[in-house]
Symmetry: C2
Subunit: 177 residues, 2 copies
Amino acid sequence: MAQSRPHVHSDDCPGCHAAPEVAFARHDHSHCSGDVLARAEALANAQGARLTPVRRRVLEILLEEHRALGAYDVLQRLAAEGFGNQPPVAYRALDFLVENGLAHRIRRLNAFAACMHPGEAHAPAFLICRHCNHVAEAPAAAVRAALDGAAAEMGFLIERSNIEALGLCPACRGAGE
Amino acid sequence: MAQSRPHVHSDDCPGCHAAPEVAFARHDHSHCSGDVLARAEALANAQGARLTPVRRRVLEILLEEHRALGAYDVLQRLAAEGFGNQPPVAYRALDFLVENGLAHRIRRLNAFAACMHPGEAHAPAFLICRHCNHVAEAPAAAVRAALDGAAAEMGFLIERSNIEALGLCPACRGAGE
DNA sequence: TCTTGACATGTTATCTTATAACATAGATAG
DNA sequence: CTATCTATGTTATAAGATAACATGTCAAGA
């Protein structure tokens, strides 16, 4: 998973989003993890939110896996490391991360994934590969715009929304499945 | 809920979708329920799917409520009417309805809602009012197109997707909440 | 008519996901 | 230093979903 594959980083898009098709590709993951984590830390401070040990560790776990994890998966790893081993421990940390824009909830999977673009106010669409289970965030400004438009036509005011798609990522398409 | 409010029906859009803002408005619901149910029945036949008593009753229940119901809500009503009272009874019927395009699963609510446009091959966006809990289907062709485009940029092939929005419906906006 | 096979339903048991409620500890402001 | 707020730990339980097997029903082919 942590194969070193050089790729350009843009300022607003560390690690996995450097080039359009890179998010799903293999790349030096320790690099983008560290980058995202640093940005997350800065963001938390800026927002006056406290990235405590449990919360930070949960974020690290999500970043390490680079895929969506269930709350109980996270909990298991926390427990193994000496943190509390009851569900609320995991859920609270995960909720904190979601509320502070450091992680996303993937409803289709009942799971959570680290946000790869913390700080860029964004509401991405999630692309879930049904074969390798990886999740990528796709820029969804256009999608949101269309959705807002459709809602407005009906007089509906959108406050939050989730857009998730299931399918095949480039690698798994290439691999014949 | 079943206030008689005249509104024009279009052929492709019985009941609740006659005019843009009608889906959320009060209207003669027994009318669109019946209409949708008849269409659902025809559709099931055409597809060779069997709309058995339980399945039909579940669809009716969803139509009567005109909102998203949890599987256990449905189950409770089924049990009260002499059908089986174990979870699989409800889940199987609901799964059948979803697979045959007669109902939708709203993941954000862990719930199910009757499809208001059976037969029109469609993949709508769901607008969920956080105040009155009603769910409407918004035409989402443009949204899907944008989403497909965003995915294609990343080399991702979408097979299924769900688009859900939480907010305020026209009535609840008007009512000051 | 029988019977066989496919499909639907009923039932038991269990699993996964999520939260309520309360107790304890740690940080921060006054 | 102490009151208060926030975070964590813990117990218990609620809510959502499915696996596995038994029973029933119906219709096509022998």
